[in-house]
Amino acid sequence: MGFLHRHRNLTPYLLLGPGLLYLAIFFVVPLGFLAYQSLESGNFDVGYSFTWAWGNYWDAIQNYRGHFIRSLEYAGIATILALVFAYPLAYWIAFRGGRWKNLLLLFIVAPFFVTYLIRTLAWETILADQGPVVSVLRDVGILGHDGRLLATSTAVVAGITYNFFPFMALPLYVSLEQIDERLIEAAQDLYASKWKAFLRITLPLSLPGVVAGTLLTFIPAAGDFINAQLLGSPQNHMIGNVIQSKFLELTDYPAAAAMSFVLMAAILLMVAIYARAVGTEKLTG
């Protein structure tokens, strides 16, 4: 340790070294390989060669525009639904949970303890044609006599909403829990109605949680393919399904690599638009 003592300013780099090197080799470098692969042409049988094939990107957008749009659409709707469902729940735990807060939080994270695929399969059971939900909806007349939920976009969005719900609820809870309740009381003492106090005090103060929750939900949701695969029909397939099958079944690596980058770009674009919208709202609010 004498060495460390003599070179104190080296210590942080020695601590960082192994982990960051690992991430560089197995996160950054692979992205480079993916980028390289996305500009190759050829096929699995004759081999691939690097040709600056920007056409791969053009083809990805041209041929799979529907899948890209559907992915962003499903992820967007699911994110909004999760926000609307999770906010009152997080609010209730934060302000009414008392000393049971931590135990109640367990209910929110509980779905994470059931393997992702298994809980999605459970939704398959719940939404199945013979299942109770469909039969009730048919009786009430919301669904037609032979209407179904499985293999529809509704099922896919419902699955995504459920599976990423904790990502939304936890950051919401954290930001709501930090709010000083005296601020809300003060607003009410100054004759703000409960609703107005919520809109002017609670909601703005919980905005960091809203932003974190939406991003944590939207990003993985946009790249998901499990819900579309298990709960949807091929008409509901998202871009993740295409990337997955092109990589692992069709071995069309350059096209799949290009699509991965288009997906990332699309997500970044949406996040940037969102960040800008929220930012300006914060400024005016």
Partner: protein, 285 residues
């Protein structure tokens, strides 16, 4: 409910309706929270219930009688036991490595000022905000291009990669509240840096390490997407479920799912209760 009923008896007519409405209005959030908890628990209930199902035929979708056979014969499906063993091995090793690497990074970030902090934070943050499918695909292209044989090692490398950032975030959060005077006291009393780390720092951050280990373990054992891209011929438990889902997942899948869920929940509840007791005893003291 009882309050509303009592109110109805006292004041008949429209005022009873009004007080019932007032009751609902007052408790609407609680009722909502209850419904939300039911929503979150519903698929979990299905998973547990169907682990006791006695399905006729291949599909475990329709309830057809209670049995304990699936539990007694949990590894009665070919491939399930080896998949489970592989998942546990990977989760154990990956969480140990990721926690070690992540802790070092967290120590550097919290304890030291150094150049390159921004890049470090970015490198930690990016894997968390990249869709899993892109993480999996980029590692796949790396291994393909370097003609590395897919199997145990590629799965392990992938799991360590996506766990590191979670470990950093978890340990960092606990390190920030750390009282550095304790270490200075130890050094003043003649302990060298290594002895101080082993005897003072490590015991104090042990809960953070445990939290990071458990989180990494949980994320690793549940991972499907990245593993699917990099497993080659090997099968982890989630991959087994995926394969089984195509031909009808056997109830044993639910047995394992229920077992994992129970272990996780028992661990979490114990943790929360211990915390609550500790908080109460410090409050009383």
């Amino acid at each position: 409910m009882t309050t509303a009923a009592a109110a109805e008896q006292q004041r008949p007519g429209s005022s009873a309706l009004a007080s019932a409405w007032a009751f609902v209005k007052h408790h609407v959030l609680t009722v909502y929270a209850l419904l939300a908890f039911i929503y979150l628990m519903l698929p979990i209930g299905i998973v547990i219930a169907f682990s006791f199902n006695n399905p006729k035929g291949r599909f475990n979708y329709v309830w057809s009688g209670f049995t304990l056979d699936n539990w007694k014969n949990w590894d009665g499906v070919p491939g399930l036991r080896s998949a489970m063993v592989l998942s546990l091995e990977i989760a154990l090793i990956a969480s140990l490595i990721a926690t070690a690497l992540g802790t070092l990074i967290a120590l550097a970030l919290v304890r030291y000022g150094f150049r390159g902090r921004g890049v470090t934070n970015l490198l930690i943050f990016l894997p968390l905000s990249t869709p899993e499918i892109v993480l999996g695909a980029s590692l796949l292209t790396l291994f393909l291009n370097l003609t590395i044989v897919f199997g145990f090692w590629t799965i392990l490398i992938a799991h360590v990669m996506f766990c590191i950032s979670f470990a950093v975030v978890t340990v960092k959060a606990r390190l920030i509240g750390f009282d550095r005077h304790l270490e200075e006291a130890a050094m003043d009393l003649g302990a060298n840096e290594w002895a101080t780390f082993r005897k003072v720092t490590l015991p104090l951050i042990a809960p953070a390490l445990l939290a990071a280990l458990l989180l990494c373990f949980a994320i690793s054992i549940d991972d499907f997407v990245v593993t699917y891209f990099n497993a080659g011929p090997r099968t982890t438990f989630p991959l087994f479920v995926w394969g089984a889902a195509r031909v009808g997942a056997p109830p044993q899948v639910n047995v394992i799912g229920t077992a994992i869920f129970s272990v996780a929940v028992i661990g979490m509840v114990t943790n929360v209760l211990v915390q609550m007791r500790r908080e109460r005893s410090t409050a009383n003291a």
